[in-house]
Structures are given as C-alpha cells and as structure tokens.
Amino acid sequence: MIEAEDIPERREHRATLRRLLRHRLFVSGLFLFGIVAVVAALAPFITDVDPNRLSMRNKFLAPGGNWVFGTDGFGRSLWSRVVWGAQLSMIIGASVVALNAIFGTLIGAAAGYFRRLDTMLMRVNDALMAFPAILLAIAVTSVLGPSTLNVILALSIVYIPRTARIVRSSVIVLREMEYVQAAVAAGAGHWRILRHHILPNAMAPMIVQLSFLFAYAVLSEATLSFLGVGAVPPTPTWGNIMSEGRDFMREAPWIITIPGIALMVTVMGLNLLGDGLRDVLDPRLRIQQ
C-alpha cells in the first residue's frame, strides 16, 4: 500500500466504485437515500407554502387534493413541513458525521498511536459510552438548550467516542504492521506516519461506520425531537411533527405516519448503503452489526 502511487490508487478507487455499483444492497440504499437527499436539496423549489405558516381554517385536512400530505393541527402544510424536515435531517446527519469524522479520527488516532494517551482518552471514552445513549443526549441538550445546533453537538458527544474506538482499534493493528515499523525505523515523524501510512488504511472501517452513524444520527435526532428535547418547535423536524401529531393520532394519523415513513425510508436507505459499503470496503466487518 505504501508504494501505491496516484495512478494505481485511482484505478483501485474506480474498481471499488464499480463493485459498489454492482452491489444490489448498495444500489437500493443509494436509491432510497438519494430520493430523500434530492427532496431535501430541492426543498425551496418543491414547496410553495412556508412550513411554519399557520392557517387555522385549514387544520386537520387529510392528505390529497391541494394538500398533498394534508395539514396538521395548525393548518400547516405537511408536505412543506416534511420536505423541510428532510433537509434538516440531512443537515443534522451530515454535520454529526462530519464532526465524527474529524474528532473521532483525531481522538481515535491519538489514542491508538500514542500509548501514553491511550489509557486516559479511553477511560473518558468508556465513561461516555457507558451512559445509555439517549439519556446522555437528553442531558446534553438540556444543558445546551434546545436548538438544531445543540442537537448536533449533543449527538456528536454521544457518538464520537464510538467512532474514536473504531479508529483506535484499526490504528493499533496498523501501528504494528511491518511497513509502519519500517517507517518508524527510517525516522519518519509521527505526523507523517499517521497521515501517510496509518490513516489511509484505517479509512475503510471508518467510512462504513460513518454511513451507519448517519442513520443513527437521523434516528436519534427524531427521537430527541419527539421527546421534546430536540430542535425547537415550530422547527419542522420529523420528530417535532410526530410529537405534535401525537394527540391527534386517532383522528389525524397521517400527521404521525407520513414523517415516520420518511424517517424509516431514510434510515433504511442509509443502512443498505452501509451494508453495501461494508461488504465491498471491509469484508472483515461482516460479522459486526
């Protein structure tokens, strides 16, 4: 791997991509997730009503007709709210993934590479992982106050230790590899070794983890909103919409089911995507989750 230069590497990437595109699960996942992502990206163009505009005369309209997904208890368009909710889910999921990619890698690499840091970092890591995830997220959002940004921070705090652990275990294995030892013997600096020899090879399990993480993040955000500690209402997150629909599930079940199904499709798409990535990038992980 170390002698892999640009061109073979690119060729290898292309081969991986081809294998991914032949993978049935990956493609169906990409399809489901793609729909949601496109809808989310196009939110301003495919909705004509402000998701927060009240219209008390039009409340509780069933789906169909002028109101594709119907309206909620304030006469707000559920289509608008669900579509904008998709955008928020995507933003939150992507942000959590990005924060995890950065800090999970930093912490995991530091712990795995520098033995002296390992114990200390992993103790804190273990402690954070020991909390039931949702409770920790609830406590953190309660501290920070409910807002979209704080939900992102809370979920990152919950999940970074898990990502860090995965990075750490790959780094520990790679650190002992002969070519890394050779680089150490040749007097390469820590940073160089990490950057050129270790991290590129730790990427596969990490990418797989991040794709599942996206799913967890979307799911957890909805759960937090549903419990009333997520993004501030009336922000149209799926969890908020469902939470507000809770009192009307007898008479207006669509308020709950539509965002619920959207949520399910997104999570399923991501899970399928993750399965495909795992099969292709990191067959060793097959047995885990």
Binding site: L54, M56, F60, G73, F74, S142, G145, P146, G228, V229, V232, P233, P234, R246, D247, F248, M249, R250, E251, A252
Partner: protein
C-alpha cells in the same frame, strides 16, 4: 362569625337546587371506577405538594378544617362551627364528632394541632400561618388559632385548596417531606400507590359525612362513597385515554382533546363534561427592559392581539372569552378594564408602535412545550405581532427553564412570557393578584419596584376590613393592570372531561370528585 357558616349553607342550597332538597343517598352501591389521569403523580403528601395531579387523588382521601364550595366560597369541613373573635385575633373551631381516620382512630384536636405543626414545619404554603401566633387545644373537640395581628383575609387563605392544611393523625406529625403516610378522614382510603403508574382508592366504610350539608359541594359538603374502588391510572397519551374510555377500560378521563370530542359526543355510551374556567391563558410583558418597558409599546401589542385566534389555537376551540382575572361565576368578578380586551386593531397597533418609537428591535416570546396551550398561544401571538410589524420570535424552552428565566430580576432574555393561571383565579382575587406585586410581580418591574398605584390597590385588597371595599380595590387593581398592559389575559380555557354514561353524579370540578358518584347498573 356564625354568619360565614350560614352563608356557606345558603350557597350550597343554591347550587343543589330544589330538586336535591333531601340528603344524598347512593342510588346504587359498589363497582370499580378507573380514571385516566393525564399527569404523573410522584407523591400523595398533600402538605408538601401543590401539583394538580397530586390534588386529584389526595383530595379524595384527605380533609381539612375549612375548604371551598362549588363557587369557591369558604365552608367548614371537619369543623362543625368556627367562631372568629370580633378583634380578629382568635379563631375557635369546634370539631365534628364521630369523625375517624382511616386507621379507625377518632379525630381529636390533638390531631389537628399535630397537622398544623407539620404544616408549619414543612408545608409548602406555610406562609399562610405567618400571622399566626400559635394554636391551642383546650379540649379534645376544640381547636383555637391565635393571631399575631388581625388579617381580614385569613379565612380565605386557610380554606385555600392550593396546598391545603389536611388533617392527619397526630402520630404522622414527624413524617418527612413527601413521605407522609396516606391516612386521612375522607370518603376514600388509599389501597395501593405506584408512583408513575396508578393509585387505587377504596371506599372508607367508617366515613361520617358532614351533616351540615345535604349534597356534595366543591371540595366538601355531604359526601358519600358509593363505589368500591377508584383507580387513578396515569395515561399520558391523550388518544389512549380516549380509546380507553371508548373500550370501557377507563370509566372517566380528563383532558380530552377537542379533536376527539365530535366522535365522543356521538357515542351514547359516553358523556362529555366540559369543565369551564380551568385556567386563564395569559402572557406577561417584561417591563424591566426596552421596548416592553414602554407603555405605548405594550399597548400596541394589546391592540394587535386577536384573542379568539389565540384561544382557539391554545385550546383547540374549547374556550370562553373572559375579561380580567376572575370568572363570572365568582363573587369578585369584574369586567373593569374591558376596553383593553380583544382590540384586534392592527392600524391602532401600528400607530401606537410609531408613538412608542419602535425600531424593529427583536422581540422574544418566551414559552414552553410542556404545556401545549402556552406553546400554541405563543405561536399565534408571534404571528399576530409580526402582522403589525413587530419583529417577534419564539424562544421555546422547557417549563422549569421558562419559569426560572421569567423570575430572574431584570432579565433581558425575553419580552413576553406565556403562562396559564389556574388554581389562583379559582381561589379568588386575592390569590390571583399576588402574582402582580413584588417580589412575585409577573410583569417584572425593574428592580422589583412595583407600580405604586398597583401596590396601593393591592394593599387595600388585603387590609380593608369590609369585603365590598376589598372587592372594589380588586376592580381598581385589575383595571390598572389591564390599562397599563402589565398582563394580557387572553381568556378562559375549558378542560374537557368525559365519563362512561353509566357513571352518574360526576360533575367536573377542579379535582375529579368520586364521592356521590355511582355506577348505574
């Protein structure tokens, strides 16, 4: 002070009406009732808790010396008479004979004294006893309260059901806060209590009803337990409560969503019982900071508000327009300040905004999601303020945070705070208007310096010896508050309860009362 006793009898007679001239007897006895309660209950210690959910259950178990009737007038409960000294320095209670606790022990003045001792030690509203010098038990059936100074409103405070001084057996005097063993004198006794889940009450066969009345009234009156058991089951999901009622798993429920009413009304097996005047939906300005410290701005907001839409959203349609801080069925009700109510005149609002020199400063409406009516009211208010050109936005936190923020001195994080006043307006003008004087003044005057005229009216309400004069002082205070826009009471919220139709005698009240309620076969 015999007058008071007579007055309460009269009041109950008026409520009971000619049809019920005789004493209540159970048309049918036996059966079990399950009540679907919305809010969780953590403790049944009525002395240290003032949550509605505790009261719901505990006030079927405990009784007090004095309580309130159907119209919130003070009445006697465990006492057969009360005599106030002409100088207002002593109150002498003569206890009813034949009253026993659920453990079989007869009630004596020692128990009352022990109850007052415990309340004075840890009772949540022990400031009620601030003007009390002490209490004596000259004989087992007599209990005397000695005052430090006369307090014309003492009986009103003593009979308050906010955190009532419930009478417990003397041996429970030293029970810790929230650890009170649940033994009272009421028509029901506690069989089983699982916090967070349910409480099961059983009929207390040794109960002796209050012979001074013919019928149940308010929290007291002539009470008889007809059913064998009553289970208060916590069902937080509104839809589940309704479904439970429909399937018959629940015989009675509180807080029925308006949306479900239509179906329930069509169902002949179910009787829908609206409980009017549950609370006053209200928003309060923060007068410590600009621009809400500016009267013109506050009046601009007043002019912008259309309370029908706000109440409609807050209550989902179950409301009554109501001016001020009392309800029309109360003696102290007044519509003073009515011209400030429901103006809904955007033009006037804009003019007032210009007068206030409003420069699009951001206006923060503080609300919470724990109580949907407050959240919903805030949502509509935000929209109405935006419509007249006010740069309003919501700040949604949870209830404890919003209370803390609203009470912090000179806090600049919010301009309007949404709340609901329930228990206090029901208790009367005095209990309500305490919210509008420092240190509690909900309009948060800078450095807690009250508006002197408001404060003067408050003092008059408290200290004038004559009830009519006190009522007049209240009218003045209400008018001042409304005219100066220190509060925006939107209207009265109706809480809907519903029962299976074979459950008879259930009249909605501030607690679900299960005495004089029977199951028809």
């Amino acid at each position: 002070m015999k007058r008071l006793l007579i007055a309460s009898c009269l009041a109950s007679a008026v409520i009971a009406g000619p049809l019920h001239a005789e004493r209540f007897t159970c048309p049918a006895r036996g059966g079990d009732i399950v009540f679907g309660q919305e809010a969780n209950v953590n403790s049944l210690d009525q002395m240290t808790s003032n949550t509605i959910s505790t009261r719901n259950i505990a006030m079927n178990i405990f009784e007090t010396l004095m309580t309130r009737d159907e119209n919130n007038n003070p009445i006697l409960e465990l006492a057969e008479s009360m005599t106030a000294a002409p100088d207002g320095m002593t109150y002498t209670f003569r206890l009813r004979s034949g009253v026993t606790f659920h453990n079989g022990k007869p009630l004596t003045s020692a128990d009352v004294a022990a109850s007052f001792n415990r309340y004075n030690r840890i009772g949540l509203q022990r400031s009620t006893l601030d003007n009390v010098a002490g209490w004596d038990t000259p004989d087992p059936m007599t209990f005397v309260i000695r005052m430090k100074q006369a307090q014309p409103t003492f009986i009103e405070a003593l009979s308050s059901f906010s955190v009532p001084i419930v009478i417990i057996p003397a041996e429970l005097e030293n029970d810790e806060r929230q650890q009170l063993r649940t033994i009272g004198t009421g028509p029901f006794r506690l069989l089983e209590f699982t916090p967070g889940s349910h409480a099961r009450l059983g009929r207390y066969d040794g109960y002796s009803p209050n012979p001074a009345f013919e019928q149940r009234t308010g929290f007291g009156g002539y009470r008889v337990a007809c059913v064998d058991t009553v289970t208060f089951r916590i069902v937080t999901e509104a839809s589940a409560r309704v479904a439970g009622l429909e399937t018959g798993a629940l015989q009675a429920v509180e807080d029925v969503p308006t949306r479900s009413l239509e179906g329930l009304r069509r169902n002949s097996a179910i009787t829908v019982l609206p409980l009017q005047n549950w609370w006053i939906q209200i928003a309060l300005p923060n007068t410590a900071i600009p621009p809400t410290n500016n009267l013109a701005f506050r009046r601009a907001v007043q002019a912008a508000l259309g309370v029908e839409d706000i109440m409609d959203a807050a209550t989902d349609g179950n409301f009554r327009l109501n001016i001020g801080f009392q309800f029309p069925n109360q003696a102290t009700y007044t519509d003073a300040g009515r011209e400030t109510y429901n103006i809904n005149d955007p033009q006037r609002a804009r003019a007032l905004l210009r007068e206030a020199n409003y420069r699009n400063e951001p206006i923060i409406i503080l609300t919470n999601r724990d109580y949907p009516p407050m959240y919903n009211a805030a949502l509509v208010m935000e929209q109405q303020l935006k419509a007249v050109g006010i740069n309003a936005s919501l700040r949604v936190v949870d209830w404890p945070t919003s209370v803390q923020m609203s009470q912090r001195l000179n806090n600049d994080e919010w301009h309007f705070f949404h709340s609901g006043w329930g228990t206090q307006p029901a208790l009367g003008a005095l209990a309500t208007m305490q919210f509008l004087v420092s240190p509690n003044a909900a309009y948060r005057p800078r450095d807690d310096r009250d508006d002197p005229e408001v404060l003067a009216a408050w003092n008059a309400m408290n200290n004038l010896p004559d009830q009519a004069a006190r009522n007049a002082a209240f009218a003045t205070m209400q008018r001042l508050i409304l005219e100066r826009a220190y509060a925006y009471p939107f209207g009265s919220l109706t809480k809907v309860q519903a029962v299976r139709s074979n459950l008879q005698g259930f009249t909605p009240f501030r607690i679900p009362r299960f005495s004089n309620v029977w199951l028809q076969r």
